[in-house]
Structures are given as structure tokens and as C-alpha cells.
């Protein structure tokens, strides 16, 4: 059995106005990966290729050891997929959907389904038509979680939810992820959600993976240095610094491979380091995307 829940190598898919370009992505079993990208970055295309719903033009995709899309049926028995644009049948009740899923999956856990109904404040006899957006998302998640999949693939599940519904869903996902054998791929453009629950972070922009690594190591690598630069001193380009913005005597350097010696290197040029700040995942994401785009355009 492979140790990877997901393994994408050199995956490309070309559309008229968008290209997914040689994507490499690996998710070890039992880990949670947050896939972050702006709208139209390629998150959903990547996920649809992983699910076998879209066939890649080039490259190899393996999910839970199964080659995709050829072995998608075998793979999908163990994948729970929910996306922001997925809808249930309006004219039927949640209970009807639960019975439908239960009739297919022998892994369906009826008592857990009842527990989720209570936790999410849902009623099995209510028609989908009458549910709010938040209740619909919770219903879709209930149907996925109660069949205990080995891999959860969630495409922007918290988009458009109010803060309370988002909190309820993230809390449930955090509990689900306590199962060490379960792997999760969680896509979002909301960095707060991803930061809260992920072990691994992957940034995607304009169809390219621009970074992918362990979250803690990632957050640790990025720093913002606020500098005071005396007149007549030019700041040198230092390794690990991806951008310096200077206005008058004040400068801000953004480092994507921070080491304590970096501050000493600036001090040695005559600049004074006022402070070294941690960056939020959102700030890192924006800086990373801008840097990546500058590199591509250069």
C-alpha cells in the first residue's frame, strides 16, 4: 500500500483560456492539505482531475493508490467529495438522500449520521428546497462524513457561509481529522480556514503550484523586517528576500527563507532593523502570488 493519499506528477490540462501547468502534488496519508488560490487559480480543475471527473492531457494521477481516471470507480468508494457548487435534489428530503447514500455504501454509519443531524441542527424530513445555503452545505457534508471515507476532498466548502455555520463546519472537520488514517484535501481562498485545520499548505496561482510544504515550517520561513535606512545607503539584494518596499528612510523587506543572520546582514550595511514580524498566511499568500507573477512576467 502506498503512503501517499494523493500523488500528481506533471499534470497538465489545457482549456481555451486557462492551462493547468505541470502540477506536482503529494499528500501523505493521514495528513490535511489546504489548497489555497485566488478565484480561477486552478483549484477546482485540480480537484476535478483528482476525482476523475476531468481527464488530464498529460501527467500521472494516483489517488489512494489508484490511477486516475482509469480506476476512478475503485478510488471513489473511499473518497468523500463535497464542493461549494454541488447541489442535492431540491424536491427530495435530506432523509431521502441519506437513504440513497446508505443503500450504496456499506460503510454508512447510521448513528454518526444521527449525531451529525443533531450537531448541524438539521432535520431529515425537511426538503432540500427549503434549506438555507449553510444548511445545504452541512447536508452535503453529513452525507460525505457519515460514510467514513479514507480521503475527504472538499472544494471550497466554507464559501458563502455565515461565521456561525463556518465555525460549526470547521469544528466538525477538526474532529473528523482526529482519525489519523483519514487524509483531507481542503481547497479555499479563505486562508484563515485553511490555517486553522491544515498540516500542509499548497498555493496555486494561474494554473501553477507556486509552493507546497508543511504549514509550521512554512509559517516559520516567512518574515517581514521593518528597516530604517539612513540616507545614502542602498539596501543590497539578499538571498531569501523576495521584495523590498522603501518609502523615504523606512523600508519593509519580505523574506521567504528567513534566518536570523538576515537581520545581521542588513545591520552590516548600515540599516537598522526596527522589528521582525511574523506574517499571517493571508499575507504570505499575497506576497507569494505577487512574487510568483513577477518572476513569470520577468
Amino acid at each position: 500500500m502506498t503512503d501517499l493519499a494523493l500523488d500528481m506528477r506533471g499534470v497538465s490540462k489545457k482549456y481555451r483560456y486557462f492551462t493547468l501547468d505541470k502540477v506536482d502534488l503529494k499528500l501523505p496519508r493521514g495528513q490535511i492539505m489546504g489548497l489555497i488560490g485566488a478565484n480561477g487559480a486552478g483549484k477546482s480543475t485540480t480537484i476535478r482531475i483528482l476525482m476523475g471527473l476531468v481527464h488530464q492531457d498529460a501527467g500521472e494521477v494516483r489517488v489512494l493508490g489508484h490511477s486516475m481516471p482509469a480506476e476512478q470507480v475503485a478510488a471513489k468508494w473511499d473518497i468523500g467529495f463535497a464542493s461549494e457548487d454541488m447541489r442535492l435534489y431540491d424536491s427530495m428530503t435530506l432523509g431521502w438522500h441519506m437513504n440513497f447514500i446508505r443503500s450504496i455504501y456499506s460503510s454508512w454509519d447510521a448513528s454518526y449520521a444521527q449525531l451529525l443531524l443533531k450537531r448541524f441542527g438539521l432535520r431529515a424530513d425537511q426538503r432540500i428546497k427549503g434549506l438555507s445555503h449553510g444548511q445545504r452545505v452541512k447536508s452535503a457534508l453529513l452525507l460525505v462524513l457519515a460514510r467514513k471515507p479514507k480521503l475527504l476532498v472538499l472544494d471550497e466548502p466554507t464559501t458563502g457561509l455565515d461565521p456561525v455555520a463556518r465555525h460549526e463546519i470547521l469544528r466538525e472537520l477538526t474532529e473528523v481529522m482526529a482519525d489519523e488514517d483519514r487524509s483531507v484535501l481542503f481547497s479555499s481562498h479563505n486562508t484563515q480556514d485553511v490555517e486553522q485545520i491544515s498540516d500542509y499548505i499548497t498555493f496555486i496561482d494561474r494554473g501553477r503550484i507556486i509552493d507546497s510544504m508543511d504549514k509550521e515550517a512554512y509559517l516559520d520561513r516567512w518574515r517581514r523586517l521593518r528597516l530604517e535606512v539612513p540616507l545614502g545607503i542602498d539596501l543590497p539584494a539578499l538571498p531569501g528576500v523576495i521584495g523590498v518596499h522603501q518609502r523615504g528612510r523606512l523600508a519593509v523587506a519580505t523574506a521567504n527563507a528567513f534566518v536570523p543572520d538576515l537581520a545581521n546582514a542588513y545591520e552590516s550595511t548600515g540599516a537598522r532593523v526596527q522589528c521582525i514580524e511574523n506574517m499571517t498566511l493571508e499575507e504570505i499568500f499575497v506576497a507569494n502570488v505577487e512574487h510568483s507573477r513577477e518572476e513569470v512576467e520577468a
Binding site: 476525482m51 447541489r87 456499506s106
Partner: protein, 223 residues
Amino acid sequence: MNGSIIGHLVLKDWRLHRSLILLTLAIGFVALLLAQFGGLALVLGGVWFFVVLCVLGSMLPASTILNERKKQTLAFIMSLPVSSVQYTIAKMLSIWALFLVPWLTLLIFALVLIANGHVVPQGSVPMLLMLAMLPLIGFCLMFSTALVGESEGWLIAASVLCNSSYWLGWYLLARVPSLAANLKAPVAVWNAPAITVLCAELGLIALITGLTLFFQSRKRDFT
């Protein structure tokens, strides 16, 4: 794994559309019973009988295939352990059954009424079958267009084409002398033109179905 996934998908479509089938059957039965009164009622009942089949043939592809895309329930179905080929097979089985059950039931009921009544002579049975095959062909074409074309525009075009062609088909069949001559015969006459027309209609259905499977198997995106 609990049973066949194709079976589950077929049953799902049946549960979702049973009210439409029941309504079709109810209108069809009323139309056929009305036709038993003869005269204007026969014309009215006959027209209702064919119209209800034509309407069902147009509604089923829109409701079972395009609505799954439009209302975004296709992603839910495709997240289940099903391939695009299995989805196509399940769709074909369910939608064919959804159409054939009322079509066959109403046709058999019409044949029983003809055999036991005195309003419509038994010589009209071959013509009834040939005419009833036209909504079946139209349904087949609209279903294939919806499945392969995946667009409301294509389905509307196919629907307009079929619904305007039915009347032409019925007019042309009624003008074939060797078919029209036996309409008032006391027993059904299965002559060569009647058999040829029925075989051609069945052949057309087989061709459309084969082409549908061929085009579906070549699709690379299924969302």
C-alpha cells in the same frame, strides 16, 4: 459495496420522476377511453394520446439530464463510485424505462380497446404501431441530444425538429396507398410496406443509441 451502482442510479431516477409517469398514464388512459365514444371524441382522444407521449418524450431528457447539470446535482452523482460510462448506461436504462413503461402500457391499452371495441377497426393496428413509433424515435433523438450535447439550446433545437416532424411523418404514412388501404380492414394486415416502415423505425432507434454511446465514451470532461 451494496448492490450495483447502476441499479441504484436507475432506481433514483424512478423515484424522482414517478409522479410524471403517473400523470402521463392518467392522461393517456382518459384520452383512450374518450376515443371509445367515436366521432369527434375519437379524434380528440387520438390527438391527446399522441400529444401526451410527445410531451413526455420532450420533458424526460430535460428533467433527467439537463436539470442535473443546470441544478448542479451532477457533481453529487459523479462523486459516487461511478464512471462516465456507467453513468451513461444508468441514464439510458432509467430514461428508456421511464418512457417505455407509459408508452407500452398505453399502446397495449389502445390495442386491447381496439380488439374489444367496435369504434376503431383492427385494420388500423399496423398504422397505430407505425405512428406510435414516431414519438419513440423523437424521444430517442432528444434524449441523445441532451446527453451528448449537454446544452439546453441543442435540446430545444431537437425538440422543435421532432415536434414539427411528427405531423409530417403521420401525414406521409397516411398517404402510402398500401398502408391506407387496409385501415378499415376487419383484421390487421402486416404487408411488406408496414413491416419495412417498422423495421426502418427500429433501425433508426438503434443507430441513434449506438451513436450516443460512441460519443459519450469519447468525452474527457464530465462535470
